[in-house]
């Protein structure tokens, strides 16, 4: 058995699945509200119950999102020269011929993605909470409705990109959100600067 190294801890994995699960359910119910998808509403027993599910899931999503800051926020603000080069070769995603510079624990695409999700996530949670609790303030309602939907469009575009890049596009990545570990030899190739920093290379 090859030597393994832990990249994600149990609380991180658990929290990520709460975030991912709530995000997907919120998107499905959100689409049902946007386009009056009666069959989807029927699954929840009608629009009234679906609204309650949407609201409380939103709360779970928001809290889970805040908890992710513990895991990713520090890394998301640190960029070096290799990160800049990473953008020049588009992370190696547009051609397999280019040489991708050595990366740390996260590549700059992931770091910026995280900041985007954090920003849009806070916006969609806060505006959702405002529409839930401040129904009688027309100005708050109109602004929140707009912000909620702008952030939703961001999630509709960003969500599938994240799912694709972390599964099909990078074989072996998905296990980081299942077991949280990967073979040390693979880690040395993918995250050399991180492995050096933890003193295993």
């Amino acid at each position: 058995m090859a030597e393994m190294i832990r990249k994600s801890h149990v609380d991180e994995i658990l929290n990520h699945w709460i975030l991912a699960g709530s995000c997907i359910l919120l998107s499905i119910t959100g689409f049902a509200f946007l386009f009056h998808l009666d069959p989807v509403a029927s699954v929840f027993g009608g629009y009234n119950t679906m609204k309650d599910v949407h609201n409380w899931l939103g709360l779970a999503f928001g809290l889970s999102l805040l908890y992710t800051m513990r895991h990713y926020l520090m890394d998301a603000f640190e960029y070096d020269a290799d990160d800049l080069l990473w953008f020049k070769v588009a992370g190696g995603y547009l051609s397999h011929k280019v040489t991708v510079p050595p990366m740390g624990k996260y590549n700059p695409g992931q770091k910026l993605y995280y900041l985007g999700i954090l920003g849009a996530g806070i916006a969609i949670s806060a505006s959702g909470l405002a529409m839930w609790l401040m129904k009688d303030n027309t100005t708050v309602m109109l602004i929140s409705h707009l912000v909620h939907n702008l952030a939703f469009v961001f999630f509709c575009i960003a969500g599938p990109v994240h799912i694709y890049l972390s599964t099909l596009a990078n074989p072996g990545t998905v296990q980081l959100m299942l077991s949280g570990t990967l073979p040390l030899d693979d880690a040395k190739k993918r995250y050399p600067k991180w492995i050096k920093a933890v003193g295993k290379m």
């Binding site: 129904k135 939907n149 575009i157």
Partner: protein, 256 residues
């Protein structure tokens, strides 16, 4: 969801000039819709209740406009849901509780209402009200009566003809023939279902000038809504294309 057949579109024509402020329309509305009275206080105006309420789908708006030539001038306007062709409330309603009837009325399904109050924010005329159960209430043009070839109860009871009900185009043509220069609501929001015949400026009677749906709601309806599923479909298609054309990451090429 526009009412495709404008020929069958029904409307209420209000002629404020003919209104004597008897408020029989308010009582008839309560009677048909089984609504309780609103407890109010005398606040020195003929207008009572002071505004639309969850149990007051229509009111007579009263304003006193004295002038030298006419020292005692009382203006009465019957106010209710405008049944807009471009109905902001219908656009924004997330549960489809607000809907258009075959006659062109904007009605609501109380069971479907989730009490979010977004319709209140999108209405240009401040019409929707919420009852004690947190459900929407408003004038529904007596869709249950007009569907059975009867008049709305307010129109039925109006003693002076200040309220008329019928085919929208016929009502407009008739009012113009009778010498009313301004038909309020003829073109606003693609045409209102409550229209008003004036010889003077509608503003004098407290009618809202250039009513519009809030621009953020229009932007959301026209652009953000389609962008959500186009964006989702677009990136899923792009991901599939990337997988086929370029393919997944290969480990060996990234050795250091």
């Amino acid at each position: 969801m526009a009412n495709d057949n404008t020929k069958t579109r029904k409307a209420i024509l209000v002629t404020p000039e003919a209104c004597i402020g008897c408020r029989a329309c308010q009582v008839a509305c309560k009677s048909w819709n089984q609504l309780p009275a609103v407890k109010t206080k005398n606040n020195g105006t003929y207008q009572n209740p002071p505004d639309l309420a969850s149990s007051a789908f229509n009111i007579i708006r009263y304003s006193e406009i004295p002038s030298k030539a006419d020292p005692v001038r009382w203006l009465f306007v019957s106010r209710r849901c405008m049944h807009c062709e471009d109905a902001g409330c219908m656009q924004i309603c997330p549960s489809g509780a607000l809907y258009r009837t075959a006659e062109g009325a904007v009605a609501y399904d109380r069971d479907k209402c989730i009490g979010c109050k977004l319709c209140v924010t999108a209405c240009p005329f401040d019409v929707p009200r919420y009852d004690a159960d947190g459900k929407i209430t408003k004038c529904h043009l007596c869709f249950d009566r007009i569907g059975a070839a009867m008049q709305p109860s307010c129109v039925k009871t109006c003693p002076t003809g200040a309220l008329k009900f019928g085919d929208r185009t016929e009502l407009i043509d008739g009012a113009k023939k009778d010498g009313f220069k301004t038909i309020y609501g003829e073109k606003d929001l693609s045409g209102l279902g409550s229209i008003y015949a004036f010889k003077e400026e509608p503003k004098l009677y407290g009618m809202k000038e250039n009513p519009t749906i809030p621009s953020s709601v229009v932007f959301w309806h026209n652009y953000l809504k389609p962008l959500s599923w186009i964006g989702l479909g677009g990136v899923v298609a792009a991901a599939a294309l990337h997988y086929l054309a370029i393919g997944p990451h290969k480990e060996k090429e990234e050795e250091v």
